[in-house]
């Protein structure tokens, strides 16, 4: 990692990071409060059979249990979109964006190897993802505390939930960075990374809503964010290992690919 480049990335993204994290804190705190206010009514609604049971099973999230409402906060498209600002937006633009703007020339004119530049972007991605997911986790804790249901949540499992979500979004970030080091243009890099996320989300949604397609969930990275299981103390170590393996594979690809590429003059 190059500290000076890291500082540059930090300064360039800190305001955005603050805004996204604040939004995630608010979002994370909202769902336990909604559960506290309307959970029982929703539970009765579900018991009436008016809403199919599958609707309450996506990502283990629901709003008629505390762990379910926290899990919904993590898997909801709004939270996913906010977390993707850094795991796909920042990571996808980290190299390809600099290349397209022509600023990669200025950066790599310094005594910074391509691997070091990549490593710095990876560490920055990890920091930003860690902070945004921490915002969501702390928001959930704050919301739960506001309703006086802390004991019900099992706050000792929150660090593990944070790690599970960080691994998920770092897997997306590693894929986005791999696309970024392979491209001279921002659009293809972001397109590949975003397509990977959307396909993954679609497979998870389809598998959870349609029992016959449940096997598709195994091919979705979102499936390995098991917020409800983690909060219930039933974390599956294999889920963490699978996400970590995706990160390792994408990082290995980028570390091999980036130094070997020719960086022709920007057109």
């Amino acid at each position: 990692m190059n500290l000076a480049y890291f500082t540059h990335l930090w300064r360039a993204n800190r305001v955005r990071l603050l805004i996204v994290t604040a939004a995630l804190v608010l979002w994370g705190s909202l769902l336990p409060v909604i559960y506290d206010a309307f959970g029982e009514q929703f539970k009765e609604l579900m018991a009436s059979g008016l809403i199919p049971r599958q609707m309450a099973e996506f990502g283990g999230g629901d709003i008629f249990s505390l762990t379910g409402s926290v899990a919904l906060g993590f898997i909801h498209p709004f939270a996913v979109a906010l977390n993707l600002v850094f795991s796909v937006g920042f990571a996808g633009a980290a190299i390809a964006g600099e290349r397209q703007r022509g600023t990669l020339e200025v950066l790599l004119a310094r005594p910074i190897s391509r691997r070091r530049a990549y490593g710095t972007a990876l560490v920055a991605s990890a920091l930003f993802v860690g902070v945004t997911v921490a915002g969501l986790t702390l928001g959930a804790l704050a919301g739960t505390a506001a309703t006086g249901r802390i004991a019900e949540l099992g706050p000792q499992n929150l660090p593990l939930l944070w790690l599970n979500a960080v691994l998920l979004y770092m897997a997306f970030a590693a894929v986005a960075l791999a696309a970024s080091v392979s491209s001279d243009r921002l659009t293809p890099a972001l397109g590949v990374a975003l397509a990977f996320v959307l396909v993954s989300y679609f497979l998870e949604a389809l598998g959870s809503l349609w029992p016959d397609a449940a096997f598709l969930q195994d091919y979705s990275l979102f499936h390995y964010l098991d917020a409800r299981g983690v909060l219930s103390g039933l974390a599956d170590a294999r889920y963490f290992a699978i996400l970590a393996a995706v990160i390792v594979a994408a990082v290995a690809y980028a570390l091999v690919m980036f130094p070997r590429r020719d960086l022709a003059a920007p057109s």
Binding site: N2, T103, E105, V106, L108, A109, R260, A265
Partner: protein, 303 residues
Amino acid sequence: MAVIETRGLTKRYGRELTPALADLDLRVEPGEIFGFLGPNGAGKSTTIRLLLGFLHPTAGGATVLDRDIETGSVEIRRRTGYLPGGIAFWDGLTGEHLLDELAAMSGRPPVRRADLADRLELPVATIRRPIRDYSRGMRQKLGIIQALQHDPELAILDEPSEGLDPLMQRAFYEILEDLKRDGRTIFFSSHILSEVERICDRVAIVRHGRLVALEDVGSLLARRKRNVEMRFEGDPPVLDGLAGVSDVRVAGDRLTCRLEGDVGPFLRAIAGTQVRDLTIEPARLEDAFLEYYADDLDRAVPA
């Protein structure tokens, strides 16, 4: 020890049949200003990018500051200042902030920054403005400062005077001359022939990715044909068959010819003629350049 030495340096992109750079052999000696000439697409930027590790050679190799370009690229860049052609910056930063960040990334203090900013007339007030407000010329000045602020042993400059007004170009040439006096080496590409002619010790000319000339500017100019125009009284001098003289044309009292090499034989041949006026136009690098590119120019002329 040469500062830059290439041996059969070749670069071919993908499956293209014509290499972007073919079999380049050149040496740049310490303390010289070396001009690298050629039109767009000739292979100038490809050479620079190979030297700095942005590209990998297809064949051959090179050393810069005694380091191999493939294995010692980071160390090369530690000791080199680079101005890319059409440089881009992080526009949200101020000029000062950018220079601070780049100096930190270089790991060397910006010992020349204040002097460079002063000579390129980039005052503190301007340097503290966001780069997005800069004009093209100001960006180029900032580019020059970032390349030279840490006092590199070797400066590699791609079209450095682009966007500078004539006054600033002069200031820039003086900076290069000062760097040379301090023992620094400068390698720069250009298609502005007058600047190469003015400041370079040696020049290489590339064409279609191949080196077509590599010599010192003085001898290149000495071998160029000069244009001679003479007005005389009485009989014209006899110049036919005289060494170095060609294209002799006489119209009334006016004689024109082209003169190459030593002027002595020509002066002796006209000694007996009553000369009213004599102009020997200095050889220009542009003429040399045009001569090397005659084929391209011929192709450009519509039939």
